[in-house]
Symmetry: C2
Subunit: 123 residues, 2 copies
Amino acid sequence: MDLSPFCPQYHVAVEIVGRRWSGAIIRALLAGRTRFAEIGDVIPGVSDRLLSQRLKELEAEGIVRRVVHADTPVRVEYGLTEKGEALGEAIVALSRWAEQWVDVPADGQETQRYSTSGRPAPR
Amino acid sequence: MDLSPFCPQYHVAVEIVGRRWSGAIIRALLAGRTRFAEIGDVIPGVSDRLLSQRLKELEAEGIVRRVVHADTPVRVEYGLTEKGEALGEAIVALSRWAEQWVDVPADGQETQRYSTSGRPAPR
């Protein structure tokens, strides 16, 4: 693929996937999480309010579908539309890159972002 | 690739690529733009200050390298490191998705974001 230096569609795509939590939500849905609480459980730090907002945005963008099952009590499930599933290739490619290049022990910088304490381990 | 529902490395990767302008900068570098002004020219709306800040961040993350040529006047070029080049697969996959799914004429919503005027075309 010959990349043009700028592509407005790509710009929109990066904004959609890069919006805080959205990339994580799409990954969770790709991995088969369907319930609101299940999605929230695998995204550390996201509030219910923001998760709900992001899911609505992704639904408006045609990436996520919300299915309401008329059980008692009502059961709601989230999933990816065809457009959302099509994002899988990019998400997997970014995941592969991340596994290879992010959080290298020799660097340590990225590890620190996810450690619960800024202090070095006791000796 | 079997995706786990959450991966902290992926989370960092999405943040890096999704940070405003960063995805566009990486694409411009992949497309062979090397000079500060050339990169800025293909990213509508980015200020010199923010472009400079993003390039420094990407350099600190080991994605971008800055080469100073000792000419008169001094000539500065930007390029991707091996880590940055490795992002190409994900950028291309996201670009493919964007070309297929973003800015569909039937929708028009995404087009509007990039029109210079909110008004409909004169009849």
